[in-house]
Amino acid sequence: MEQNITRNDHYSLATQSNANSAVVLAYITVDTHRENSITDQALQHLYPDALLAGAGKFSREAFLNAVNLLGADIAVGITDGRLTLTLQATSAAFPKLLPLVQIMLTTPTFSATELERITLNVRNDLHIKQEQSATIAREQLRNSFYKASDRRYTASDKEINAALETIDTTALHTFHTYVLSAPWSCSIAADESAITQFKKMITRSKNTIENSATVKAHEQKTAAQAVHLKQIPSKANIDFSIGIPLPITIHHPDYVPVTFALGVLGIPGFAGRLMSTVRHKEGLTYSIYAYAETFSGHEHGYARIMTFFTPEKTIQGLTATFREIKKFYEKGISQSEFETFQTIFQTRQTLLQDSLLKQLGDLHAFNQNGFSIEEMKHFKQQLGTITRLQVNAAIKTYFNPSCFTISGAGPIHNIEKEIREFASSVT
């Protein structure tokens, strides 16, 4: 199985060639981030469904019918300003799927009737989002880190609802033109024939006119209040996102040591320190993990610990969590821990070989961030060549517990005062 990445001015194409593969998986990602205005955010809610709502001579119904008769799937979504199309089909059906994708990309209808329907759906989605406490905790955290023009900032549901009113089909067409003009990151796992056809479809669909829209890069706020809480009385648990912005991109020499360190603290699974202590030793939560999020080749990211506690266990849970962060910061990681986690990260790379989905996801991430295959291999090798000193130096530089922000959403009412007092004592 061979991997390859090629680039030109208009798109990049990463391929994973699997001879005799029964299935095809492909991604097309376009960075649609511009100024992250409220209108932009509202458009990002509408556009995915609108793209699937009819194209060329196909009504929405006819288009979905054509795709589904093949047993195939086209999924469209926008996260942090990045639009991703996911194509899944059998190898036999993929050649028939591609013309449909091309029609969708080159001649979408964006009818007023469909826009009306989609707008109503988005409003309903925003309504049910009110009780998604984990999502709300994460958004609060990110909004505390970044200014409104940063792609990580989320406008309020009220603001987005108001902006939905202002969007017409012309706005959708304009947004779509931007999508066609911006650089595409494309990746596919398939046999050679499917890869060739995919490439042809891209070149036929892609608009080669350069776009001139203003793009705002990350805009971090100056650190302010360290705790943000939202009362959601209907929940049983309080969801927390506890995090800290990290002023580095993935190309910074500290990036690999930072991600290594975060793995030691809270890698998904049972190996991380937080799971070992806060869950297993102290029984304070069912899950607690740490993630490095939204880093890219040209933007900084942040570290986030995600967990939940019952109201009764919240102060104990937060105390235990910050105790571990403090210990992590003050003492770093031991040599045996360092060696263990080198093995763990190596295992995670090996396990990719067992999953088509994970392999292509991994390749696509490197593709999006501008890596060549050689650069990707070199990057991965760093996990084996970094030193414990580098990791501990990164911990000291970036993980001061007094700089963390606590964001919580759930039944906080009766313990809000205690949470704020706790936050004042540690941050």
Binding site: N68, G71, A89, P233, H280, K281, T340, L356
Partner: protein, 444 residues
């Protein structure tokens, strides 16, 4: 089809006898054996050149084996299988070998419990095969179950319960199952009731452990980058000395009393969420009727082309519609779940859904049936590109005692007609087969 997806080892296709095993009829490219010493069933599938092996052991015990007052005990026992064994204590492995293995190697390690079975899996670089097997063999019989070890894990399970129970969809589903089934143990959720979880003792768990965790009540699956003979020899060495209990496993055949009329249930909580759930009883997996129901549910609420999506989501009356159907061996309850948009009436939505369904005919659903079948086949093919998915699927066939059907699913799907699906819909939505639930969000 299976030749394209699954690797066939030339060695494995020979009928060479392996010492200590009886070879059964293969299931496509998957080989099945029985360890003669103790009846342990073993499945083997060679997937070369990945560098990865997945081992999965399924015990035929689940929620359906639980008595009243002990609901969720199979799941609790699943959690306890990660605790130290006598070997671990002797070798000072404080957290238990399974946890230790995951923490030292970064392998994927987890387990899940369902209505008919409990399953444990590891996925790891192939050099760890021996250790993974040793751990699995050791914990089949030797976990130390004491109240002191139980207590903190009981807290974790209660935490897990609270996590699920906070979700309105889950809370309503719990009520739906207990309403639909008066007698059958499928009527309680796998995690059990909170009150029962709080009352567990090590003694209760020990009884389940001794009764059900034994070689002749298990099936071990090995899928990955290892030669068959090497794998099976290691299995024989690690598991061959484990004896079965002399006790007979009692399987209580419970006949659910006949349902007469629609059943209703309501959950009311302070919330902004409102849900209408419609439950229909269906045949066991993997009978043809189960697949008919599965396709019927796709037709009704499986995506933007489905009947109820167009009726409710496209018109703004609902934010979401969804379906769930479990691959259980006996008659179970499938659910259609409608999350209401603001200011919608539960009663109106229920009426509109049932009226629409009652008016369906072959013409209206024919194209949807074709598409549902096509998508299911594609989904099956994608699933077979990853060993964890392969063992998960095999687990369900094994626990339904229908492994021979595993590679026949595409053929079976091909035989299902629109008439079959329509007939299933008509039968499923008769009053005597329906359970209706409302989640009512009240103001605090």
């Amino acid at each position: 089809m299976s030749k394209k997806i699954l690797s066939i080892s030339k060695k494995a296709s020979s009928h060479k006898t392996l010492t200590g095993y009886i070879r059964k009829q293969p299931i496509g490219a998957i080989e099945e054996y029985i360890l003669t010493q103790n009846g342990l069933r073993v499945l083997f599938l060679h997937r070369p050149d990945t560098g990865v092996i997945t081992t999965n052991i399924t015990y035929f015990v689940g929620a359906r084996d639980e008595a009243r007052g002990e609901t969720g005990i199979a799941h609790m026992l699943e959690h306890m299988l990660f605790k130290p064994t006598a070997f671990d204590i002797q070798h000072k492995i404080k957290e238990g070998s399974a946890m230790h293995f995951e923490r030292m190697t970064g392998s994927i390690l987890n387990a899940n419990t369902w209505k008919d079975r409990t399953t444990y899996y590891f996925s790891y670089p192939k050099e760890y095969f021996s250790e993974a097997l040793r751990i699995e063999a050791d914990r089949m019989k030797n976990v130390i179950l004491t109240d002191a070890v139980l207590l903190p894990e009981q807290g974790n399970v209660l935490s897990e319960f609270d996590m699920y129970n906070g979700d309105p969809h889950f809370a309503l589903a719990v009520q739906m199952y207990s309403t639909a089934f008066l007698s059958h143990p499928y009527g309680h959720e796998t995690i059990g009731y909170r009150e029962d979880i709080e009352d567990y003792t090590a003694k209760k768990l020990q009884h389940y452990y001794q009764t059900y965790y034994r070689p002749d009540n298990a099936i071990l699956m090995i899928v990955g980058d290892i030669e068959r003979d090497t794998a099976l020899t290691a299995v024989r060495e690690q598991f061959g000395t484990i004896e079965n209990s002399t006790a007979v496993i009692k399987r209580h055949a419970v006949r659910e009393p006949k349902q007469e009329g629609v059943r209703h249930t309501t959950v009311a909580r302070p919330s902004t969420t409102n849900i209408v759930a419609i439950g229909i009883k269906h045949s066991g997996f993997p009978q043809k009727e189960w697949f008919n129901t599965s396709i019927a549910l796709e037709v009704l609420a499986g995506g933007p082309e489905s009947i109820l999506y167009k009726l409710l989501v496209d018109t703004g009356k609902a934010a979401q519609v969804g379906v769930s159907i479990e691959p259980t061996s006996e008659t179970n309850l499938a659910l259609i779940d409608v999350t209401l948009a603001p200011n919608q009436s539960h009663q109106s939505i229920e009426t509109e859904v049932l009226t629409t369904i009652s008016h369906l005919n072959s013409k209206t659903i024919d194209h949807l049936v074709k598409k549902a079948k096509a998508r299911m086949i594609t989904s099956e093919l994608f699933g077979r590109t990853e060993s964890l998915h392969i063992v998960a699927e095999l687990t369900e066939y094994a626990s339904a005692n229908a492994l021979e059907s595993y590679d026949k699913t595409p053929e079976l799907l091909a035989t299902i007609t629109t008439k079959d699906v329509l007939q299933t819909i008509v039968e499923s939505f008769k009053n005597s087969n329906l359970t209706i639930g409302y989640f009512i969000g009240t103001k605090r």
